[in-house]
Symmetry: C2
Subunit: 193 residues, 2 copies
């Protein structure tokens, strides 16, 4: 029992480093860039609050578990802002190695379970993963709308790029949320671009 | 439906402010003080990871929901560091008013449900609340051990004060976790005080 707990505590102390990974999005008040730890809390709260807008076959507790884990790989791989130019193959390789190392700190049975949840999130093929991924894409534009543009300004995003990189993923897992966000985003880009 | 979602989005945007509430504890690497948003993520991850150490009658998903919500009142009431000197009656009044305002942003049925979860956490009388409260008390000493003292140094804490204000609450809801932490804390205070 003590060995298991030792391993779990090593994992939880390592996880603390996610609070030092900076994202491309600012806080809603624009005062500073958001980190991936507080982002993970916020989208788990999005899931709890917006559960009724998920498709019927979604298990919201599995979604929340996925969201608590989804960014841990960034401790090694960093955050790849959605409007940035990255080599997706290179990022995927870095994130796989990060998942091996970080989930590997846990007792084997638990490492396997957490890794399976993260793999499911990444594969974006089940209703739970698709809703989780939609929330991960839905929160940043709301912060941009609140802060007056945020990463849309930094990365000189166009509406077309936003819809193809972000909107399409929100629409896939959470059509109700996309229907709410789309006119607000259209309006922002019309006024500011 | 749109009115409900408008209200939920107001709540989620207001919640963003929790990322600007500074706590008395530093990150594990001691680089800066922690904020209450990233702290909330970290203890929700504690709950997910340490679920097997909860008493048998604990519903870990309810615990995680409580932990995602537990600090929102600090947006108005601020964080009251555990070793600081505060008037508990004054803090409780501020937190009640904050809960009225912040949960009150939600649709009424949801405001009532979230408020009931927060009230249950605060009352610390059910097994779920006691385990949640234990995790809220268990994470900071682990960050202190990792960073070389943290809030124990800032507040010139003694072991006796730590055991009465923190240890007793961990022991109440999560005796296994207290059994793991206690010798480590005893050792730190012996070496550093």
């Amino acid at each position: 029992m003590t060995e298991r707990l030792d391993a779990q505590m090593s994992f939880l102390t390592e996880a603390c480093r996610l609070k030092s990974i900076t994202r491309g999005t600012t806080l809603c008040d624009g005062s500073r860039y958001e980190n991936s730890g507080e982002h993970s809390w916020h989208i788990a709260l999005y899931a709890l609050t917006l559960a009724e807008h998920a498709p019927d076959d979604v298990d919201i507790h599995r979604v929340i578990s996925m969201l608590l884990l989804h960014d841990l790989v960034e401790i090694d791989a960093g955050d790849a802002p959605v409007f940035g130019d990255h080599d997706p193959t290179e990022i995927a390789a870095k994130e796989q190695a990060a998942a091996d190392r970080i989930f590997g700190l846990l007792p084997l049975d638990q490492a396997t379970r957490f890794r399976a949840l993260w793999d499911e999130f990444e594969a974006n093929a089940t209703p739970d993963a698709q809703f989780a991924k939609s929330l991960d894409r839905f929160q940043p534009p709301n912060q941009n709308l609140a802060s007056g543009g945020g990463s849309w300004v930094t990365y000189r995003a166009t509406y077309e790029r936003f819809e193809s990189r972000v909107g399409s993923k929100i629409a896939r897992g959470a059509p109700t949320l996309w229907a709410w966000l789309k006119p607000r985003a259209v309006d922002w880009f019309k006024t500011n671009r």
